[in-house]
């Protein structure tokens, strides 16, 4: 990976966010686009659930409906995530043959999370990578990450909590087994935000610039701020349509 295209922070509808990540992965996997790091937000707020999750087990659909929260199913595995104001989402996509990212899944999470950990540390948060796929500060989760390998690409997307509307957590039904294992008694206790750690607010752009700088260092690549290509953009409506379908959302 000698150059990295960066798509700066933008806010989109939930299904468009899912479709853009997928369209970029298709283009990167077929060498029509360079390796890409994208930052985004969600409007309206949303819950994203993992590929294998049972929607009724994970999401309080009634709460979501009455609070204007949309629900999407990711093409990546992993757990349910709430995407509200104050949360920064990123996606990193690279060709699956690129030696910059290890073939081994656990190794590749560590590799791709490393610049994010460095950026958080640079801002003053004592962040560490927490296997399998989290970043933690003081034993509490600040970032969750999920990966898929398809279309000839490795796609990793993840969430970083700058701030959190804790009331929105009621949208997630979290299992007792999972919390006990982590030594927390509620999902809120298990999470920590940059705002809580640093005692100040942060713009998404401040965090994303710090992450871009660390990607450049860690991967020793040139960074070019760019835009989604016409090839990617023309795929978005069809993919977003699939993500909107009942068949996809309720498949499990």
């Amino acid at each position: 990976m000698d150059r990295l295209r960066v798509l700066g922070f933008s806010v989109f509808e939930p299904t468009v966010n899912m479709a853009l990540d997928e369209a970029i992965a298709e283009a990167v996997g077929s060498a029509k686009s360079p390796p890409t790091l994208r930052f985004y937000g969600w409007s309206p707020s949303a819950v994203s659930i993992g590929y294998f999750q049972e929607i009724h087990e994970e999401v309080d659909l009634e709460f979501c409906h009455s609070n204007g929260i949309e629900v999407v199913r990711r093409i990546t595995g992993g757990g349910a995530v709430i995407h509200t104001k104050g949360e920064l989402t990123y996606s990193f996509t690279v060709c699956d043959k690129d030696p910059a990212v290890p073939q081994d899944i656990q190794g590749s999470y560590m590799r791709i999370c490393a610049p994010i950990v460095s950026a958080l540390r640079g801002l003053g948060a004592d962040a560490v990578f927490a296997p399998i796929n989290d970043i933690e500060v003081g034993g509490k989760k600040i970032s969750g990450n999920a990966q898929t390998r398809r279309f000839g690409a490795v796609l990793q997307h993840g969430t970083i909590l700058i701030d959190l509307e804790r009331g929105m957590l009621r949208a997630l039904k979290v299992k007792r087994e999972k919390l006990q294992d982590r030594g927390a008694d509620s999902v809120g206790n298990r999470l920590i935000t940059l705002k809580e750690i640093l005692g100040r607010d942060l713009r998404p752009g401040e965090l994303s610039s710090a992450i871009v700088k660390e990607f450049r260092k860690h991967f020793k690549c040139k960074v070019e701020y760019g835009k989604a290509s016409p090839i990617e953009l023309c795929r978005v409506p069809a993919i977003a349509e699939r993500h909107k379908s009942i068949d996809w959302l309720f498949r499990r």
Binding site: F52, G79, I105, K178
Partner: protein
């Protein structure tokens, strides 16, 4: 008869297995959770292949359907154990 086995795999992820059986044959199987599998659609294949299998053929079916699949947060053994629990 439908039975459910669910657990948080030690050092791994949450997995829930729901299996229905009748007269010694599996009639339905659903595997859900927050684990990872690459490629993901291998799990649709496992569920499809389990349907109609005699209950004593779980191991072979899972092992062949998941051959070459990378699992993260659970193992084939976990899965086989949980499916067999549903059939006890």
């Amino acid at each position: 008869m439908e039975k459910v086995s669910q657990r948080k795999v030690k050092g791994g992820k949450f997995v829930k297995v729901k299996v229905s059986s009748e007269g010694g044959y599996i009639t339905d199987a659903k595997i859900t959770g927050d684990f990872f599998a690459h490629p993901e659609d291998a799990f649709e294949q496992v569920e499809k292949e389990l349907k109609g299998m005699p209950v004593d053929r779980v191991r072979g079916t899972v092992e062949s359907a998941l051959g070459g699949i990378v699992l993260v947060g659970l193992s084939k053994e976990d899965l086989i154990e949980m499916i067999e629990e549903c059939l006890e």
